[in-house]
Amino acid sequence: MMNQLVWLGQSGIENLRQLGKTGLLLFHVVFSPPHWRKNFPLVVQQVYAEGVLSLLIIIVSSLFIGMVLALQGYHTLAKFGASQQLGPLVALSVARELGPVVTAILFAGRAGSAVTAEIGLMKATEQLSSMEMMAVDPLRRVISPRFWGGFISMPLLTMIFNMTAIYGAYLVGVKWLGVDGGVFWSNMQSSVEFHADIVNGILKSMVFGVAVIWIAVAQGYFAVPTAAGIASATTRSVVYASLTVLGLDFVLTAMMIGEW
């Protein structure tokens, strides 16, 4: 019995320490920002690696999600004779929830895992140590640009996701299922509010972006420097990031629905 308690206490303290270390890492990354002139190209490189290279999966997923949403939505709405509400249905679902959440989870899977693996590998092959011994701060040069690259990419990807999902719904709803185009857009416009829906969705995506890239960077930085260690750090990064995004989504939605 005592043994179990000791074990519980120890793992609790150990987890607390880990949390503290990741918190300190975030603090150092955010408050020792890259030297703008020297390291700006690094940030741009990372926006490319994390954002631009994720475009394919984001656009394809959003197109299909929009199309499925329209398909399912139409068949259910038609039973109530409310098929002209398809526009609002799709736009509100995507802008408020699906856009930020699905983008964040896809981002965690594609860019987050890549960042974790990269940093973990650099740690395991002693590249980070070499940098330190050459008097170059690896936090500034390697970690920080990846963090800011993720922070910048996430909201941009979310906006693109929202647009292509709604367009996909338009294709299915109007072009295929025969909802009137004018009704589709005008009902949407009267139901969707820019500040409450679109902007809130983008705010959510910024919060998710911080969470996902922070977890990715921390898991890579604190990975056990072996091949197995990197593998498990990568999977952990994706799992933790996804769960955190879903949890944060609930909290943010509650805050936003209650109008702050």
């Binding site: 190209p41 741009v44 490189q45 926006v47 490319y48 954002g51 631009v52 475009l55 736009a91 802008a95 909201p155 941009l156 990807l157 906006m159 693109i160 929202n162 647009m163 292509t164 709604i166 857009w185 949407m188 416009q189 009267s190 969707v192 509010e193 820019f194 829906d197 679109i198 983008i202």
Partner: protein, 175 residues
């Protein structure tokens, strides 16, 4: 890694694409007509019952939106609802004897305030009050009234039909 200038170009395109998406979302999806809140002036109106009226509900004249509700408060003395309307500065010639009523869009839709313009030569300005108001119709009260009426006329018609059927019965009996 591609050469730096290709990367920068691609990132620039990425940013452009995202801004385009944002523009589409703003104007086509949410119907944002102007980014900056229009200049408005505030007018108050008191109602006995506002029903489902909310802050930011529309204020319309003849069906066209001219402003929105900016504040709803309760007068502690008269216990009437004091609604503050923010009317777009462009519509600065609403006669100050106009009336304001709370209506429902559609049958079960949101409530909005409709202003019916009258004939005075002086106009509403910041701080004016609309005197003539018509409260919202609350569905439950209507149904209650309707049932009450049905109940009453039911009693009368029951009495009538009883008398009628008695006569008929007599007729039959007499034949």
């Amino acid at each position: 890694m591609l050469p730096q200038r290709y990367i920068e170009t691609l990132v620039g395109l990425f940013l452009l694409f995202a801004i385009l998406a944002l523009t589409v979302l703003a104007f086509k999806v949410s119907g944002l007509t102007n980014l900056f809140p229009a200049k408005t002036y505030l007018v108050t109106a008191e109602f006995d019952e506002i029903g489902g009226l909310k802050v930011r509900s529309a204020v319309k004249i003849g069906g066209v939106q001219v402003g929105e509700v900016s504040k709803i408060a309760l007068d502690p003395v008269t216990y009437r609802a004091v609604v503050t309307l923010a009317i777009d500065d462009r519509y600065n010639d609403i006669p100050d004897d106009s009336s304001a009523g709370i209506f429902t869009s559609g049958l079960l839709g949101d409530n909005y305030i409709a202003i019916t313009p009258m004939y005075n030569k002086t106009f509403l300005k910041n701080g004016s009050q609309i005197e003539m108001t018509r409260s919202a119709m609350v569905l439950e009260k209507l149904i209650g009234q309707f049932l009450y009426k049905i109940g009453n006329s039911g009693n009368d018609s029951n009495a009538n039909s009883n008398a009628n059927s008695n006569e008929k019965g007599d007729k039959h009996a007499n034949q």
